[in-house]
């Protein structure tokens, strides 16, 4: 066992380093964990998340793949059926669609259709989200497509600490997990003020990451800020944007970072909304049939008699992700600020 197994220290990590640490630890602990994807081997990934892993764990456990997401996902399922625990990388979430049939019809259904004879203990890592001038093919937030699928989990971390702990939990989970990494906050907790200098993780408390093994359980949200005025449900990059915007408006909001969309931590959501009486949902993904619609329905069903204002949804627009007009699309401080004024109007 490596030192990391008994290590109790912490160090500053950005989200990439935290993900790399999680992969390294899981591969060290379990010889069945395997990493593959486009450019993940010798080079270490276009975002460097797998840097050094091939040199340490060998070419048969960390390797480059042909450019076919269908193949990557199908091969991962076969490896899972054999008894391995593959962690494929889809280079950008925008490229995941060729793998959709393998993911939706196969990985997510295998346990059910075989009555448990075969399972898919697979974690699919994929950078998602915009704010990096990636245009429509490097910026999408497709989580709502996958939360609609029965039999798979969807996890989105918002900090380096959570990224490492959630990724370890995802890899050890015996069901397929889509692990979407908000690439805009790989280097720092971007607050949505795109025209101002960005911070990096070195100053953020959640950039202090244990070097050893720990898990952040799937299905548990984090109340990242307690408050009384309203509840804001968000995840990924939007956690930091919302935190900055309520500070600007001096509103005592309770911010809930969902961390896992499926299975959802409904208890935390319900308790918070019943306490504050107001609920705002913020995500970067397109609006129609987005995960915010599900959240809105759940809050309405469970907290209707506690609500003092209509539920407010702040999202990206129902357009492809634009390039030059990126910040007009992005649900940033202005849009969130206006929604805050609306929901707090009669308070």
């Amino acid at each position: 066992m490596s030192d990391a197994m008994t290590d109790t220290g912490t160090t500053r990590m950005n989200m990439i380093q935290a993900i790399n640490s999680a992969l390294d630890l899981c591969m060290t602990r379990d010889p069945d964990v395997l990493v593959m994807g486009e450019d993940v081997g010798y080079f270490g990934g276009v975002f460097r998340a797998t840097a050094g892993l091939q040199a340490k764990h060998g070419k048969t456990r960390v390797f480059d793949t042909p450019i076919t997401e269908t193949g990557i996902m199908g091969v991962a399922i076969g490896m899972g059926a054999y008894g391995l625990r593959p962690v494929p990388e889809i280079q950008f979430a925008d490229y995941i669609y060729p793998a959709l049939d393998q993911l939706v019809s196969e990985a997510a259904r295998l346990r059910y259709r075989s009555a448990g004879e075969f399972t898919s203990p697979i974690t699919i890592r994929s950078p998602y989200g915009g704010g990096i001038f990636g245009g429509q093919t490097h910026s999408q937030s497709p989580e709502g497509i996958f939360t609609h699928v029965s039999g798979m989990k969807t996890v989105i971390p918002a900090t380096p600490y959570d990224a490492k702990g959630l990724l370890i939990a995802a890899i050890e989970d015996n069901d397929p997990v889509l692990f979407l990494e908000p690439k805009r906050i790989y280097n720092g907790p971007f607050n949505g003020y795109w025209d101002k200098p960005s911070e990096n993780w070195s100053k953020h408390p959640a950039g202090d990451v244990p070097t050893g093994y720990y898990k952040v359980p799937l299905g548990k949200a984090a109340v990242v800020r307690e408050g009384e005025a309203l509840t804001i449900l968000c995840y990924g990059t939007m956690v930091h944007v919302c935190t900055a915007v309520i500070a600007e408006h001096n509103i005592d909001a309770e911010i809930v970072d969902l961390r896992t969309l499926v299975p959802l931590d409904i208890e935390t959501i319900e308790a918070s909304v019943k306490k504050t009486g107001r609920c705002m949902i913020v995500h970067e993904a397109t609006r129609t049939s987005g995960f915010g619609a599900e959240l809105s329905a759940l809050v309405q069903e469970r907290c209707f008699y506690h609500l003092e204002a209509p539920i407010e949804r702040v999202t990206g627009y129902d357009t492809p992700y634009p390039h030059s007009l990126e910040w007009a699309y992005f649900p940033g401080p202005v849009r969130i600020g206006q929604a805050l004024k609306k929901i707090m109007k009669d308070a």
């Binding site: 395997l34 048969t60 456990r61 793949t65 042909p66 076919t68 269908t70 193949g71 996902m73 199908g74 091969v75 991962a76 399922i77 076969g78 490896m79 899972g80 059926a81 054999y82 008894g83 391995l84 593959p86 060729p98 049939d101 393998q102 019809s105 196969e106 295998l110 346990r111 059910y112 259709r113 075989s114 009555a115 448990g116 004879e117 075969f118 399972t119 029965s150 039999g151 989990k153 989970d173 015996n174 069901d175 299905g219 499926v262 299975p263 959802l264 409904i266």
Partner: protein, 429 residues
């Protein structure tokens, strides 16, 4: 816009080619256009030979049994009479099973069935050539793999009936078996998804230094799926120990093989572009299927990489119980098929070598029919579809995840309450 108004009307107009099969209902059938080389003619390369040295084998037919039932040529696997009789028995058992289950569907005992009539050699001979520990990723017409591996017929029937004995808890369409202990992967209804999965299994086996290989089946029609090509690329790149079987039975429901590209080339020739070994085999010749599988398995086991085998055969009956082939193809096709019937051909061979006779064959057929009937009786004690002896209701929510999350628990409780309120006699079972 009509063609004459087109600004470039002086150029030769393009035409779109839409393939059309040779025969439609009512047409007289002659398969003279199907090239059948003599048995024993195809060469048998060393299993260590590079794929580029025998690309000709993708355009011919590996055949062992000649018209007189003799085994000839370099591909003759020289099997003992016992093994030959076992294959014949399994093929006949598969046919008897198919007959019985087809009839059960027609009697309303289940919703769906698919026969493998005419394609028995493809699965039975392959299973005979593989090791029991090798992993099979079947499509929907390889029930012969289970029969050859000795999977209990009663379990297959329980699955077909979706009854209370069904190990898959009634969750899958009839015939979509899963039998992990018999090296038989869960069948998907989505076509050719199993191809990259088999490659992944084979890659894992190789990465772990295991000795087991994988084999996978799909129809010629679904070689058009992207998954097929992704699988070929992966298998070629990593030299995965996998055998790709393409069962070219000429028909994908009502679409003839031309809609998968058969007018232009063979399916075995798909292998050439990927640099992997390709063989085109008489799929109605059990000895040829056995020999090709054995050859491909040896390549895989010696790290010489994957092989794609096209089994040239004919789907003698409908696609499934939901299909009526007389609507789109000539009724004369099955009997006119130039490669004959796989059961009759193996029987003829055993008789030719003095190891079998008509009387024994007839007796075996009677015995197998009785056996299948008895197994069916056993299975029906567990119920038939729609007659109440199904799985307990709450199993509907089992196995979506390893642990049931709150939202499924809530929906499960809702369903149970709904059944309670429904007054249906089978509620709460």
């Amino acid at each position: 816009m009509v063609a004459s108004e087109h600004p470039r009307a002086n150029l030769q107009p393009l035409t779109l080619h839409v393939p059309e099969p040779k025969f439609r209902p009512g047409d007289a059938v002659d398969f003279v256009g199907v090239d059948v080389p003599p048995a024993g003619e195809a060469r048998r390369p060393d299993t260590a030979a590079p794929a580029r040295e025998f690309t000709d084998l993708a355009y011919t037919l590996v055949r062992v049994l000649d018209d007189d039932g003799r085994a000839v040529g370099p591909w003759d696997p020289k099997l003992s009479p016992d093994v030959l009789r076992r294959m014949l028995r399994n093929m006949a058992l598969l046919r008897a099973f198919d007959e019985r289950m087809f009839r059960a569907q027609r009697q309303g005992k289940t919703s769906f069935y698919m026969k493998a009539t005419g394609e028995e050699a493809v699965s039975i001979a392959a299973a005979q050539a593989l090791d029991f520990e090798d992993m099979c990723f079947p499509s929907y017409r390889q029930q012969g793999l289970l029969i050859a591996r000795g999977y209990p017929l009663v379990e297959m029937m329980n699955q077909i009936y979706s009854n209370r004995g069904d190990k898959l808890q009634g969750k899958q369409l009839p015939i979509m078996y899963s039998a992990r202990d018999y090296g038989f992967f869960s069948i998907s209804g989505n076509l050719t998804t199993q191809y990259p999965q088999a490659v992944g299994w084979a890659m894992a086996s190789a990465a772990k230094g295991d000795t087991r290989i994988a084999a996978v089946w799909c129809g010629e029609g679904s070689t058009a799926e992207g998954d097929f090509h992704s699988a070929c690329t992966f298998a070629s790149v990593y030299r995965a120990p996998v055998i790709f079987n393409v069962v070219n039975n000429q028909w994908a429901i009502s679409s003839f093989s031309g809609f998968a590209g058969a007018e232009a080339t063979t399916f075995a020739a798909r292998a050439i572009g990927y640099g992997i070994a390709g063989l085109r085999v008489d799929g109605n010749d059990a000895l040829a299927v056995y020999a090709a599988t054995q050859w491909a398995a040896e390549r895989a086991r010696t790290n010489a990489g994957p092989t794609l085998i096209e089994h040239f055969t004919y789907r003698a009956e409908g696609h499934s119980t939901s299909d009526d082939p007389t609507q789109y193809r000539s009724a004369g096709e099955p009997t006119a098929w130039p490669l004959g019937d796989p059961v009759a051909r193996l029987k003829q061979h055993l008789i030719a070598i003095g190891e079998w006779d008509e009387e024994r064959h007839a007796a075996q057929d009677r015995e197998l029919a009785e056996y299948v009937k008895a197994e069916q009786k056993e299975a029906e004690k567990n119920g038939i579809l729609g007659h109440g002896l199904h799985q307990p209701l709450d199993t509907l929510f089992d196995g979506v995840f390893e642990e049931m999350p709150w939202h499924l628990r809530e929906q499960q409780a809702q369903m149970m309450a709904e059944e309670e309120a429904s007054g249906r006699p089978w509620a709460r079972k």
